[in-house]
Amino acid sequence: MTLTADLVIATAVAYVGLLFLVAFLGDRHTRNRDGGFLRSPFVYTLSISVYCTSWTFYGAVGSAARNGLEFVTIYLGPTLVFVGWWFILRRLVRISHDQRITSIADLLSSRFGKSSRLGVLVTVLALIAIAPYIALQLKAVTSSIEAIAGSSEFGRGSLEGWDEVGLAFGVAAGMALFTILFGTRNVDAKEQHHGVVAAIALEAVVKLTALIAVGVFVLYAGGGLDAIFTRAADAGLNIHATETFGDRWVASMLLAAAAIICLPRQFQVTVVENSDESHLRTASWAFPAYMLAMSLFIVPIALYGLTTMPAGSNPDMFTLTLPLAAGQDGLALFAFIGGFSSATSMIILESIALSIMVSNHIVVPIMLRFSADDSAGDGLGVRRLLLNARRLSIILILFLGFGYFYLTRASDALAPIGLISFTGVAQFLPAILAALFWRDASTKAAIAAISVGFIVWLWSSFMPSFASSSPLVAQIMAEGPFGIAWLRPQALFGLERLDPLAHAVFWSLFLNTTVLILGSLLTSQSALEHVQAALFLNLSRKGAGETRPLRGSAAADDLFLVARRVLGHQRAVDLFSEEAKQTGMAWSSLEPGPAFIHRLERELAGSIGAASAHVMLSKVVSGDAVSLEEVMQMADETQQAIEHSQALERASAQLRATAEKLEVANRQLRKVDLQKDEFLSQVSHEVRTPMTAIRAFSEILLSESDLDENSSRRFVSTIHKESLRLTSQLDEILDLSALERGERVWDSKPIDAEDALDQALRVCDALARQNGATMRSGPRASAAIVSADPDRLSQVMINLISNAIKYNNAPAPEVTVRSRVENGHYCVEVSDNGLGIPDDERPRIFDKFYRGRLGEVATYAGAGLGLPISREIVTRMHGSLELVSDAGEGACFRVTLPLARRS
């Protein structure tokens, strides 16, 4: 069998037919049953292996031949991301499931406040960044066909007369047709493509076995690893990685790690097509293992090719040319199919992913802007438009790839082209990480950051790739634009020591991240951003759908029209019937609540992206959704403020109360202090009088030696009398102050108050006789049991009676004592027939040391403490002592005591 271009093209077409069949069967399989084998974690893992494109199949060998071990970084980066799947990929998958994310542009736009602008930006930039990558695949397929065609005399067959560009165009057109047939067959625009995934999984198996087959062949032909390496070393090749582990190593590993997250097709297979989160568990080790298997034979193939193939042959094609050179046509054909597999799977998925982004973020928003609300008549309209938009964008994507291929066809290596794309899509990484982990990242900052990163990328990575075809670019590369040296694309700001790749990666990602951080710190988030950010960050803590971005009410008819436009008649009917069943209302009277609107929005988002779904529903749902969200946010923030101010208020009220109490206490203290001073001065005054007398008489006794017996006796008796008075005064003072401080305790027990009164009368009998007063007994109570101390009660009675006797200046003094029981109280009245107490003295008679005018002149004046003490005692017995007589008649004091309760 001789391989010709015709044969390989025919084989390729047949292979495509096989893939198509697999996809068709896969779709039918998932539709009939519930996924089954096609939803196994291994099919999922194999579909992720779309990461290994013809860049791996052909380019890795070329890269290994040129730069040694460096090619493994492209696989080590993703390996590390999958090893750490728990921290980034798991969150991505979960958030995307909950939010019905359809693409990487949708993810960013959804997180950053459903911003349409960000969605458009990411879509456009992804289109530009992926163009070199598509070109790489076109170049690889073209080169592989050329390699086979050039291998024999009649190899070109019907390709005679086609040059490389023509062939590449043919390949691009074929791929476009193929992808359109593949990816946009479904009338249903839902974003999971089980059939395609099945085909991709098959291709993953084909490319791995093909590469391993070539690897085994090389080992066999080369005589084992040892022989291959030894021969390479002998041929003067540097088999050791002397210069490998430098800045390029680090930069490309970082890029590859970023690419496995940021590449649109990787996001599509890893996140969007994921049907079960637990599949990620298997993929976490199985995908690195797949890449390890792919990489295992790369170095031997490269070294064997370098030592055996003629000088100047393209190392990128060793996988194909080595079997060809050895006459292994069958193996060569298998290798070609392997390489073709890796290219087609990449192109299919990448263009599907990109076309979804284009239709959801560019076409639908434009359509929404230009279509009136009421034009929703035909149910299929939107979906047909979507599919057509996707078909057009697939053509556009392949055309861009072809254009890039055409402009850069002079450079021959595959891997550097891929790295340009990687650097481009890596510009999404800071925003994605911020979306997952940083609540305060703002939309404005994200847009600015991605733009800045992309401009730097365009300048320092994308543009330089045209240097071989454009003298202008070459001149800018050498001298800088307009001769500005510090703007040279590969030595920005004078940074010349870095490898061009590391240079571009460093500046683009550094400036990108810096703008994102500073921008987020300086700008503030809108209400919707705030809500979405919280949703993205709290997703693992609470279920989705806690917040309802769209609220308000809408007519069921309007909502149904929108749903039918996007989801198709059947699904719209299903959705609404289910809601009608749940709420138990008839179809016609259905009133969609916020929960239903929210669900509808998520369903729509699954087809046209979050931003477009939001815009579309906002048009129908009445009530200002955003103002409600603002209210929510404001409520969130003001709640805290209110709590703070309430706490403050409570604290200050407490302070005020305390201050008032303090003031009261202070006033009391001052009053008491004043009373104390007054009391002290009065006591001093009272004590002073007898002391003065005692001193005067004792001085006389001491100085007058010739005093007669009589006088000295009189003086001594005066001294004695005064000291007695002094003692009694001091006793009373002590007694009163003790009473006032509550220090005197006595036993209150039920006693007959009449007994105490009788005893007092007996005691005062002598005094009355001495003063010539008559004691009259008025009506008396028979018996009155009060709770009191008998001695103290007598003391009060004695005091009152003796006062009545002593201060009675009537010619025939009379004292009358009456007692009675009334209203549960026991009353004793002591009255005399004296002058009574004048009006002006009445308020003061209970003051301490107040004796009244009569008291001043009375011969046996007391300290003026009798009444205060008595009142104190009666008060402590819960009774009262008061002056009841009017002015102008004799004084009358009344003691009232509550009767003791008989228990």
């Binding site: 071990l69 493994v72 080590l76 390996t79 590390l80 999958f82 090893v83 750490g84 799947w85 728990w86 921290f87 980034i88 798991r90 969150r91 979960r94 909950d98 084992g224 690893l225 040892d226 022989a227 291959i228 390496f229 030894t230 088999i239 050791h240 990685a241 002397t242 490998t244 582990f245 430098g246 190593w249 680090v250 590993m253 989160e277 637990s278 568990r281 298997t282 976490s284 080790w285 690195p288 293992a289 390890l292 990489s295 295992l296 170095v299 997952l436 982990f437 960050l537 693992s540 803590r541 609470k542 279920g543 989705a544």
Partner: protein, 78 residues
């Protein structure tokens, strides 16, 4: 190991895996020696890679099941 420690272990496994592939650690293996004809640094990288696969397989089995339903996770990632 507790659930939190397992998650921390998975994080450090990833971080140290990354460090082992990067200079300066990887430079330790850049000397002229060959294992079965293969340069030592190549062997190192592939063996490390295989170990990472094995370790991740272990982690993928022991890391807690964390479906959205029963989620009370206080940790959110690195």
């Amino acid at each position: 190991m507790t659930r939190r420690k397992l998650i921390s272990a998975a994080l450090f496994f990833t971080v140290f895996g990354a460090l082992a592939f990067l200079p300066p650690l990887v430079l330790l293996f850049r000397f002229d020696a060959r294992v079965a004809g293969v340069p030592i640094e190549t062997v190192y990288i592939f063996v490390l890679w295989a170990l990472l696969v094995v370790g991740t397989r272990w982690f993928s089995r022991v890391l807690p099941d964390d479906s959205p339903g029963d989620d009370k996770r206080p940790d959110a990632g690195p």
